[in-house]
């Protein structure tokens, strides 16, 4: 018995001639999960939203059949949709920090569907139901948690609370749109377990993700979406065993990418960290952000730092860059003191170490064009062009764009007019403008789709090969760290719990946390 049946669904957004969802058909039975995988812009989210009547305003939704929990959902009026939403279909979206109202307590948020759909329920009964729900999604100490605000919960608990609120009015269908994307790997695994339990208890689950590894763990059927169409819809096992469509094969390849790191050589040590430590806050509430981090980075090599958010990775990055002074320990660049000298002496050598951020959109001046962004860095680069003329700066900017496999048609664009992948390439080009010997990459691909991730990683690897650049590569994602790093540091709560050559670390992890990370990654 299908809870959801969709036949030939088409969605056309206002002001667009082409359909974002173009002839999609599927059905989900109770206790089953359909996974939709694809890159951003493929139409996954819009497909999910059309099952709950939340397509963007003005969108035209048509279908030969659109049955949601026994209701023909074609041409429903807004009040009719409201009766359906929450009560028959629940929605869980990405990152509960922004998907829960940040100004309301968790209890109020979870209770809202009950207030809407069961207005006769008394105050005390409602409170009881909320506690029950929090308990159901395995939130410890629910009585305390209901009084908390979303920002006071960890990412995992927040996501659980969001799931609890979606389940409050007992819907038959749950639409989970990238439910784990903003979470750390180990927390991801826990949420997956929770979703699986819900599915087994009879919920029909529509799981949307760009991450094939998450889909694989939950979905009974998998649909691969590209440009508004399902290019492939198969039982999960068949899809992995025998992918039919070339795009599916591409996705599978991107998910399992792990190039063996190049053999180590004995280049000069360009960057050395010695026993770095940094604490924040005052005596009582002191937070050891980083405690005792040491490593050496050789030319042409990559040191990977992996750990969950809050483990101190980015603090290390800032100390390496010299934008944060360590409380203890030292950073040496090319064998000379770096972190303990005054900024005035450091400034002349700043070009030698450059950074790439996760969110390059906010790392660019939103008003500046690509040419201006690059020109600024080029003008600062005294070694080659100095502050010379405009035309030469432009030529150099084009040269840099070619280096990162972009062409000069982007010179006039501003940051928000670039795709995520293009933006990250421009960020790399800007970093390269100063001709650094060291590149610090702080989660450089975390905001990108899987196949774009692979392209950017490939670019970084090839740049390293051709220029002998040394890299510090920071990520919460073991897979991307693995793809580039020769040596790996595993950080937890500001401390390096394990450190060593990548191959050895993956072969025989010593620390339980490393094993946990690897396990979370392997089940993926």
């Amino acid at each position: 018995m299908s809870v959801i049946t969709v036949r030939n669904l088409r969605v056309v957004l206002p002001g667009s001639a082409t359909a974002v969802v173009d002839g999609v058909s599927f059905s989900i039975a109770a206790g089953q999960c359909l996974g939709i995988v694809g890159e951003s812009g493929a139409g996954k989210t819009v497909t999910g939203r059309s099952l709950i009547g939340l397509t963007p305003e003005g969108a035209r939704v048509t279908a030969e059949e659109l049955t949601v929990a026994g209701v023909d959902a074609r041409d429903l009026t807004e009040p009719a949709w409201r009766r359906l939403r929450g009560a028959r279909v629940g929605l869980v979206s990405q990152d509960a920090l922004v998907s829960l109202d940040p100004l309301r307590r968790v209890g109020a948020e979870v209770a809202e569907p009950l207030e809407v759909h069961e207005p006769t329920l008394g105050r005390a009964d409602r409170a009881g139901r909320v506690l029950q729900l929090l308990d159901q999604v395995a939130i410890p100490e629910p009585a305390m948690r209901v009084r908390h605000y979303p920002h006071e919960l960890s990412g995992g608990l927040r996501q659980r609370a969001l799931i609890a609120s979606a389940l409050a009015a007992s819907p038959a269908v749950l639409i989970a749109d990238e439910p784990t994307t903003a979470l750390d790997v180990t927390v991801q695994a826990q949420i997956v377990v929770l979703l699986r339990q819900l599915k087994e208890s009879g919920l029909a689950l529509l799981l949307i993700s760009h991450d094939l590894t998450i889909i694989r763990q939950l979905a009974d059927d998998i649909a691969v979406m590209k440009d508004g169409r399902f290019v492939e819809l198969q039982p999960a096992a068949d899809l992995f065993a025998a992918p039919q469509h070339p795009y599916t094969r591409e996705l599978l390849a991107a998910a399992s990418q792990s190039r063996p790191p190049a053999p180590p050589n004995t280049g000069p040590v360009v960057l050395a960290a010695r026993d770095l430590a940094k604490t924040y806050g005052q005596a009582a509430a002191q937070l050891h952000a980083v405690n005792g981090v040491s490593f050496e980075l050789r030319a042409g090599h990559t040191v990977g730092i992996v750990g969950e958010s809050g483990s101190g990775k980015s603090t290390v990055a800032r100390m390496l860059l010299g934008t944060e002074t360590p409380d203890r320990g030292d950073v040496l660049m090319h064998g000379e003191p770096w972190s303990r000298v005054p900024e005035s002496t450091r400034r002349a050598r700043r070009g030698g170490i450059q950074i790439i951020h996760q969110d390059s959109l906010s790392a660019f001046d939103p008003r500046a064009t690509v040419l201006q962004i690059l020109s600024e860095a080029i003008a600062l680069d005294g070694t080659r062009l100095g502050r010379r003329r405009r035309r030469e700066r432009r030529a150099r900017a084009i040269e840099l764009l070619e280096l990162v496999a972009l062409n000069d048609s982007l010179l006039g664009r501003r940051a928000h007019q670039l795709s995520g992948g293009q933006r990250q390439r421009v960020a790399i080009a800007r970093a390269l403008a100063r001709q650094p010997s060291i590149l610090v990459c702080d989660e450089p691909v975390s905001a990108l789709d899987a196949s774009i991730q692979a392209q950017v990683l490939k670019l970084l690897a090839s740049l390293q090969e051709t220029t002998g650049l040394a890299m510090v590569f920071i990520s919460h994602d073991l897979a991307v760290v693995r793809a580039l790093s020769h040596d790996i540091l595993v950080m937890k709560d500001g401390v390096v719990v394990e450190q060593g050559p990548a191959a050895a670390l993956f072969l025989a992890p010593q620390h339980p946390f490393t094993r946990e990370l690897l396990a979370a990654h392997a089940t993926a």
Binding site: R85, V98, L103, R104
Partner: protein
């Protein structure tokens, strides 16, 4: 807060000394007196002392709550201000209520496709109209034209309505603009989808969710605007010929009655500090995230 009041008193004290002219002239009024008498007056009022001594003396008295004595009226400044405080506070309080109601109404109604441009236009008119002009329009329409409200009466609630409305309208325009902007911003936040996915109606979404976000973003400005009402009351009290602090301030400045001017400056500083404190407390209540942010700062 003490720092703000001290800063205001100090700046005010020295700035007022820069005004050319002899305070003794103010004390004497128009009469003609001998140099001897002048010196005597100077001695009595402590005006002969070096500036620093005068300043420290003033501060010392200020700490004890003594604002000095008016040159012109020959009575304690605290009394001069106290007598006129009540009408002005009444006026300001009612104006605040009006401003908030008007702003809330226009922000809530003015968000439809058709009403939004209209609300925008009204706000623009409200913000850019000079206070005295609004006052005159209100007087001629409601006072003379319709005869609903007394024009020159100074007692009773009816007499308060027009001046308060005059004071409130430009403020309401600004707050409404910010509030509408806040509502629009909040409506674009991701959690709105979650709320709608629960089956909540639009009204519920606004009342229970986005209005609070909008209030969080406009509360600081509202506090600032309330503080600025004190300045606005000068004009309104003049236009409506009402008694009040605004007129006291105006007359004191015209008369170069330095202690009174200083007293009003200090009072304004205190009022601003108290309002800001309240705003901070309210903002913490509205947006619990602020508390933790401060804890880290």
């Amino acid at each position: 807060m003490v720092l703000v009041v001290w800063g205001a008193a100090t700046l005010g004290f020295f700035a007022l000394r820069l005004i050319p002219g002899d305070p003794v002239n103010v004390l004497i009024g128009l009469g003609n007196v001998s140099t001897q008498v002048r010196d005597q007056i100077r001695e009595d009022w402590g005006l002969a002392d070096p500036l620093l001594v005068q300043y420290l003396g003033y501060l010392g008295r200020l700490v004890q709550g003594d604002l000095g004595t008016s040159y012109r009226r020959q009575q304690p400044v605290a009394d001069v201000i106290g007598q006129q405080l009540v009408p002005t506070v009444q006026l300001m309080a009612l104006a605040v209520v009006f401003a908030l109601l008007l702003a809330l109404g226009s922000a809530l109604i003015g968000r439809g496709r058709r009403t939004a441009p209209l609300a925008g236009l009204l706000e623009l008119v409200a913000v850019s109209s000079p206070t005295f002009w609004i006052g005159l329009v209100l007087i001629s329409v409601f006072g003379f034209g319709l005869g609903w409200f007394p024009v020159v009466a100074t007692v009773g609630f009816g007499a308060l309505l027009l001046p308060a409305a005059t004071l409130a309208i430009p403020v309401a325009g600004i707050i409404s603009q910010v509030l509408r902007q806040g509502l629009d911003d909040a409506a674009a936040l991701p959690f709105v989808d979650t709320v709608r996915a629960r089956g909540a109606s639009h009204t519920r979404l606004v009342v229970r969710h986005t209005l609070r976000h909008a209030a969080a973003s406009s509360i600081t400005l509202t506090g600032y605007m309330v503080g600025s009402l004190l300045g606005g009351s000068v004009l309104v009290e003049t236009v409506f010929a009402r008694p009040g602090l605004g007129r006291v301030a105006l007359n004191a400045i015209v008369d170069r009655d330095v202690p009174v001017v200083l007293g009003i400056i200090v009072l304004a500083a205190v009022a601003f500090s108290v309002i800001n404190l309240l705003v901070d407390l309210v903002a913490d209540r509205i947006d619990p995230r602020l508390e933790t942010k401060q804890a880290y700062a």
